[in-house]
């Protein structure tokens, strides 16, 4: 059962998830902040763009801590790399165009929706928000459909 559901094992998934939740929980208990990740991509634009959308208080007010939070993400992953990661740098075989075009849609969509896998999926569901549940079900559905379509198209 577990070997078909989790061919690569399951302990690292669950423990990683618990750590992700601990990060979001620690941020909340210490500072009261809600730590979804996609907002940093809008708030950072507020440093360089005069566009009225980016100059809203919710972006200019939080842009400093969100960048520090993002720096922590990189630092934490680097700590894993140096401790458990075996020193081999990770790489991906997903083509650059797929990463770039996919990223463009991810950035546009997450900001239009005001949340991503962490914003709606962890923080939104974590505060029992019905709109976040609707968002999660929607992006899960289109993500499954797209990934299956790409797989079929590539002849996997």
């Amino acid at each position: 059962m577990t070997s078909t559901l989790f061919p690569l094992g399951w302990v690292h998934y669950l423990s990683g998830g618990l750590l992700i939740g601990s990060g979001v929980a620690l941020l909340f208990l210490l500072t009261g902040r809600i730590g979804g990740m996609s907002t940093v991509f809008s708030s950072t634009w507020s440093f360089v763009s005069r566009a009225s959308y980016f100059q809203q208080e919710r972006f200019t007010g939080g842009r400093a801590w969100r960048l520090i939070y993002a720096a922590g993400l990189i630092g934490g992953a680097a700590m894993w790399w140096l401790s458990f990661g075996g020193g081999q740098r990770l790489s991906t075989g997903v083509p650059a165009w797929q990463l770039l075009v996919g990223g463009l849609l991810v950035g546009y969509g997450a900001r239009l929706s005001n949340g991503c896998t962490s914003g709606h999926g962890i923080c939104g569901l974590g505060s029992l928000q019905v709109p976040s549940l609707a968002a999660v079900l929607t992006f899960m559905a289109t993500a499954f459909a797209t990934a299956q379509a790409v797989l079929a198209w590539k002849g996997g």
């Binding site: 061919p7 990683g16 400093a64 790399w81 997903v94 650059a96 996919g102 900001r111």
Partner: protein, 142 residues
Amino acid sequence: MEGGLNVRASQVLAVLASGMLFGFGLALSTMVSPEVVLSFLQWRDAGLMLVMGGALVVTLLAYRFGPLVLKRPLLGGEFGHHVAVMDRDTLVGAAIFGVGWGLCGVCPGPAIAGLGAGQVELLWALAGIFAGAGLQGWQASR
């Protein structure tokens, strides 16, 4: 801390430590590898369910019981709320996000954290996400 760089050191350390836990978790759970995320979306490996589930349970407990046990956050300020609205943008945006996620296997957190594990290819995704967020904000400003 809001509004400027003149911030209290304890706040900076708290935010940094929280981000590091998050990033360590993303790397440990291999969510920084697009292949692993795609194998979930292709129904080959259910691991992402455990990652989301584990993260959700801890967050749920903190959001639910933190404000009951503590009057205010330990370092001061107020407890914030995640406010999501049920409107067209939330659902259309989520649908577009899902198409992009299914195409590249990268979402905002792993795009950032992956760099820390030497996953430099994710700079493509990071550039795309940043451009997409820019486009959305520019459109919303018009």
